[in-house]
Symmetry: C2
Subunit: 409 residues, 2 copies
């Protein structure tokens, strides 16, 4: 049996063409629904049409290319919007990879009748509302999001959709059409590079919980208040972070990470003892159980600290994303194809970042495939992946796509 | 010998009248050179004229009342401008206290020929430029301040002086006229109240040094960067603050205080490991030697931390105010008067806040007298002092003023 063969130069040329929309230094600035993002979407639709797909931009900006083929249909895709200053690959790689897989399957006699739809989901990066496009497509969008969401400048999603010419354009919603969703992506972390592998088969996506933890003391004159009379909320928080680190180090599993990404002191002046201090804590893990253990430890620490130190401390959970396990059968298809064509060059690993795949996993069998990120850098203008890895990843995706469809037939 | 006797009701009535200019809740909003501050200054000038002083508002807004008497002249005063939201007493107490001392000396046959000038210095609180008035009066104002200083809203000092009608009004500059400067003030700290004293004789004013300390790590994805590969500048800073606290606790003298009043993480997002963290450290002490010891310890800690942790750390000294020792002879006059009239009710102590007296101390014999602040609260709408303490402080100032002039005669 012949196998679908991707055309590396076509893959790379499309990636480079997409990069020009919003190109900035070595990266890309292409926030969702901005004029340049819409330009990129119209270009992508043209590329899909040229690949004989029935392509549409839907009412939230999703670009979806439907295959006209019969039989079980695989959905592949990712996103083409970027962070405020993003890398050139991120989601773009998955979208162009899907397009090339689609073309390669058509060009191979053995797979030419296989049905693959491809998509670029809108606003994965949360310019207005994270996962807007995949949520909308799956019927998971909360009813008032379009009316209420705004970007960091306070501009409304509703107006942005209107400005993008999407007013009155129907939303697409067809989750029942698919046997599976497959999302290729760059790793955005250093694990593949560190273990010297070229391909990552994703076992699951870490869950993530965010907390604001507020310490209340007493603001006072930084000169005339003796040390022994101070209720310095900032110093209390610094002590607490030390305790938190020691406790989480004891509890951490292989994939546990935690981050204090932001600290605010109030009033925040050189000459005033902080009366209030707020920290943003985030932790992630591949296991829901482990996330619960960490949250319980956090709350115990806060209770103990609060009662021993005399500083009132409050914890509010700001967001929660459950850990996701990806489909075992889709993983098997990826693993078998990898073992056949790239033995010793792949590994299984969890995704430490979230993806549109988070939305799909509860709805249909979902898989992800990673290529290495140089130095693990992502969400950064310096983000990059070796060309040979981009090509290998796409070729594996083509082999795996054929296997997935074959097994469903 | 009869002694000058203040009139408590006149002192309190003037304080209450001054309070009405910019009264806000239990405090006062009277920033330097604002319309309401200028109204208060014109009212004060009238009160000085009524006390037979030759009173002027000078080109930076100082209100100065000159005595027409012969012989050695004592200068007394403080400031009537406030913080953005200030207490009703702060500098206002010292100004009205000086006015009442002046009147009391005139009304007492034994002291009626004594010469006391009084003043309200402009912008002690740094609306445009801290100590503007006292610096100008002493010829210490840097040449480009009036042209370049602005307030927090970006309005220029030059325009504010013009709007206040002070354009072309001469600046007063007469430091050679005086035998001494005496500034009564509220303590703005809790020490008198804690030791149950009603009068504080100030030995010196603490020095103050401010530093920005910058930790450089590597910003990265808070999900996909394993703990062992992180260079988290925020966590490094938290560790450092713990070390700093332990070291400074070892070195601290009776009057040492230190404060981390502000922390900034960059980029400061929940999902990004801080690549840079900056803390503002301030410490104060009564002794220059001790300040040098603290600075040396800080720099050693930074060097050691930097070389052991692998995080580059830089220290920049943002401001420095030398500790000031107040005049021993002026202190003696205050102490003798206190011991005679209020034995057991006074103590010597340093000032932990800065005052116009900081400007005067290097130029002429300078003394300060404190009355207690309830709960040590100041720079706050809740600032207050018991009426009986306001009266006692003013009476002691009158006794001491007579002694100071007497000794110089």
């Amino acid at each position: 049996m012949t196998k679908p063969q991707i055309k590396p130069e076509r893959l790379l040329a499309d990636l480079q063409q997409l990069r020009r929309f919003g190109e900035y230094k070595s990266g890309v600035v292409r926030p969702a629904l901005s004029p340049v993002d819409m330009e990129a979407r119209r270009w992508l639709r043209e590329r899909m049409l040229a690949a004989s797909l029935d392509a549409h931009i839907d009412g939230v900006g999703n670009v979806i290319g439907y295959s006209g083929k019969q039989g079980p249909t695989l959905l592949m895709g990712s996103h083409t919007d970027t962070q405020p200053e993003g890398g050139w690959l991120d989601g773009a790689y998955g979208v162009i990879c899907a397009l090339e897989v689609c073309r390669a399957l058509q060009e191979c006699p053995e797979t030419t009748q296989m049905s693959v739809d491809i998509a670029s989901w809108s606003d994965e990066e949360h310019t207005f509302h994270g996962f807007l496009g995949s949520k909308s497509f799956l019927g998971l969008l909360e009813p008032d999001v379009i009316r209420t969401a705004t970007n960091a400048d306070g501009h409304s999603l509703e107006q942005a959709l209107f400005d993008a010419g999407l007013n009155g354009v129907p939303h697409r919603y067809q989750p029942d059409r698919y046997i599976a969703y497959l999302e290729p992506h760059i790793e955005q972390g250093p694990r593949l590079e560190l273990s010297n592998k070229r391909l990552g088969i994703v076992t699951g996506i870490v869950g993530c919980r965010d907390y604001d933890i507020t310490f209340t003391g007493e603001a006072n004159h930084a000169g005339s208040t003796p040390m022994e009379l101070r209720k310095d909320a900032g110093m209390a928080m610094v002590d607490f972070i030390g305790q938190l680190n020691r406790r989480f180090q004891q509890l951490a599993g292989q994939f546990t990470v935690w981050t204090v990404g932001r600290i605010d002191y109030f009033p925040g002046a050189a000459c005033v003892i902080p009366g209030q201090a707020i920290m943003r804590l985030q932790f992630r893990d591949t296991s829901q159980g482990q996330m619960n253990v960490l949250e319980q430890a956090l709350r115990q620490l806060v209770d103990t600290f609060s009662s021993h130190s005399g500083f009132p401390v409050t914890v509010s959970r700001e967001s929660i994303t459950d850990a996701v396990t990806l489909d075992r059968q889709v993983q098997s298809c990826l693993q078998e194809a990898a073992e056949e064509h790239y033995p010793e060059q792949w590994q299984s690993l969890p995704s430490a970042a979230m993806h549109d795949a988070n939305m799909f996993a509860p709805v249909m069998p979902t898989g992800m495939l990673f290529v290495p990120s140089i130095k693990g850098i992502s969400h950064n203008l310096a983000e990059d992946t070796r060309e040979s890895d981009l090509i290998t990843g796409c070729q594996l995706a083509a082999y795996a796509a054929a296997r997935i469809i074959n097994e469903a037939t």
